[in-house]
């Protein structure tokens, strides 16, 4: 298992967002996390990546216990994420946005120029791969929503994560771009990256994922390959609304 989450619990006041969620993700797969709004998917992401402190439960990534660690420590452990409402650094150029994802190892390397050749080339490489290299020197705030989503993904990939958590990659994206994102995820997955994707677009979910976990009321109620999930009665009842 590459990412193992055990009995994760989180309440906001009287609202239970996560109610003992236990999920294990196998390496090299594209996993999808689906479920109705408010079923705890984003809170699950936030607790796993340390953005929110869980009330209890453990998170283990590639054999390392990341429970309660700071988000930057978790990120450096090879767990990258995007945000539901995609987040970039608005007043920085695209290439700076991507370069900002490689924090220095120590104090001395931190004082080196941020525009070193090899790092800049690597950043440009990601921008090129995502098809937005012509915007390298444009500020993120001047870019369209779709471009910003690609930029955010470029930043996450720059840090070379083994596991990538995507929070609604299809949200607000046009069909052409959606195809591109889908193809890209498949490509990146083929290179060995594990994906966990929260997504409401069922076409995308069913077409790209190897494994689907269905959340309801803060915990998984079913999991399996797309074909099985499509016909699972509990899923139909809770989510697909049949």
């Amino acid at each position: 298992m590459t990412l193992t989450v055990t009995d994760l619990r989180k309440s906001f006041g009287g609202v239970t967002a996560l109610d003992g969620a236990t999920v294990a993700f196998q390496p090299g797969r594209i996993n999808a996390l689906i479920g109705p709004n408010g079923s705890g998917k984003t809170t699950f992401f936030n607790c796993v990546t340390g953005m929110i402190k869980a009330d209890s439960g453990t998170v283990v990534h590639r054999g390392r216990d990341l429970t309660g660690k700071a988000p930057h420590t978790i990120a450096r452990n090879g767990l990258g994420r995007t945000f539901q409402l995609c987040r970039t650094f608005p007043r920085m150029t695209a290439v700076e946005n991507v370069l900002a994802a490689v924090p220095p190892k120590g104090l001395i390397s931190g004082l080196r120029s941020a525009r070193r050749r090899e790092e800049t080339d690597r950043a440009m490489g990601w921008l090129t791969r995502l098809g937005i290299e012509h915007l390298a020197h444009a500020e993120a705030r001047d870019m369209s929503w779709g471009q910003q989503k690609l930029l955010e993904l470029a930043g996450v990939l720059m840090a070379e994560p083994q596991t990538v958590l995507l929070d609604e990659p299809a949200g607000g994206v046009n069909p052409a771009l959606l195809d591109r994102i889908g193809a890209l995820v498949r490509e990146l997955n083929a290179e060995g990256r594990t994906f966990v994707i929260v997504e409401h677009n069922m076409d995308l979910v069913m077409s790209i994922s190897d494994h689907i976990v269905v959340f309801d009321r803060g915990r998984p109620i079913a999991e399996g390959p797309p074909a099985a999930i499509r016909t699972d009665e509990r899923v139909l009842g809770a989510y697909l609304g049949v």
Partner: protein
């Protein structure tokens, strides 16, 4: 070929540097020279403030307190500790930088308005301490710091003018170094979106704390140099909310993302403050004028004077545009290939 705006920029920098260096020879009387020292003092303080304000976007109103601490640390080390003046200055600044660690540890945990309020609290607490602890600090009677040099008054001003200019040069150099560094990029990403920066692997708290300590060190050096120059410290002026507010005004006016922004702001606001004081004496009118200036800047030049000037120049030099909307992807790709081929 260097662009027009770049040539203008370099010319402006050389001109301002020459003007700053030539000022003491041109000053008609010691009063004007002393006003020049004050303006440079503000320039160093505003540039020091900009290590925190410009890079991380945390607006501190408490930097006046750090300058005051630097002043008192230097003064007390000379008066009570018997240290030579400039040794006291350096030790004092190191002490303030050390104090900035726990202060930053507490203050940098909160963001936005809460951080501003914590920074104000720092000023008020220190004001109370230094006023009440009269047996050590001299309290409201003040602390007299002996002059380091045996010079006439105009000469004294001249020497300190150049000392402040030197300190300003060092502060600007360090700011520039951080600005172009990997560390600086991390700091700027904190300014843009702190949670996102953290999620990308930047140890945001450590970054903020480090730059806060650097900022405090430079601020304390400016405060200590002021103490050696002015020779008399009073808690009411050393620990004043006004100082911090002036620094914020100067930095915002000049432009916090610009290396020379705070310096530009300090020259404008510093000269204006002196002028208003001469014209209207010690009436609150100079405060009204300052407030008006801040309102105008926020309304019409939210990014500060320097970016506004830059935009203006760009408007009159077509072909120098960088807007993404007016350049095709193919053109940009060509540009990139050219850059890759060059020695840049």
């Amino acid at each position: 070929m260097p662009s027009v705006s770049r040539v203008l920029k370099i010319a402006a920098i050389v001109l301002v540097a020459a003007a700053i260096l030539a000022f003491p020879s041109l000053a008609p009387n010691p009063y004007v020279l002393s006003a020049g020292v004050l303006v440079l003092n503000y320039a160093v303080l505003a540039t020091s403030w900009n290590f925190v304000g410009g890079f991380t976007g945390y607006i501190s109103l408490g930097h006046g307190a750090l300058a005051g601490l630097g002043g008192y640390a230097t003064g007390l080390l000379v008066v009570k500790g018997g240290l030579p003046a400039f040794a006291a200055l350096l030790v004092g600044a190191a002490l303030v930088a050390a104090v900035a660690v726990p202060v930053g540890f507490a203050a940098l945990r909160v963001r936005g308005a809460s951080f501003v309020i914590v920074s104000i609290a720092l000023v008020l607490i220190l004001l109370l301490v230094f006023q009440s602890w009269a047996s050590f600090t001299g309290g409201s009677r003040g602390l007299v710091v002996p002059r380091p040099f045996d010079l006439s008054r105009p000469e004294h001003h001249r020497v300190f003018y150049y000392l402040f200019a030197g300190l300003l040069a060092v502060a600007l150099l360090v700011w520039w170094l951080i600005d172009r560094s990997v560390f600086g990029l991390g700091l700027k990403s904190i300014r843009e979106d702190e949670d996102k920066a953290e999620a990308l692997g930047t140890a945001t708290f450590a970054y903020k704390l480090m730059v806060f300590v650097v900022s405090a060190g430079f601020t304390a050096l400016a405060g200590g140099l002021y103490a050696l120059w002015f020779g008399d410290l009073d808690p009411v002026f050393q620990f004043s909310i006004l100082t911090g507010s002036y620094l914020v005004l100067m930095a915002l006016l000049g432009g916090v993302r610009q290396l020379f922004g705070p310096l530009t702001g300090a020259i404008i606001v510093g000269v204006a403050l002196e002028y208003f004081k001469v014209e209207y004496g010690d009436t609150p009118l100079h405060l009204v004028a300052t407030g008006l200036l801040l309102a105008l800047v926020v309304l019409f030049m939210p990014d500060g004077v320097l970016p506004a000037i830059g935009d203006l120049i760009r408007r009159f030099t077509p072909g120098d545009r960088t807007s993404i909307r007016e350049v095709s992807a193919a053109e940009l790709r060509d540009q990139r290939l050219q850059n890759a081929g060059g020695t840049r």
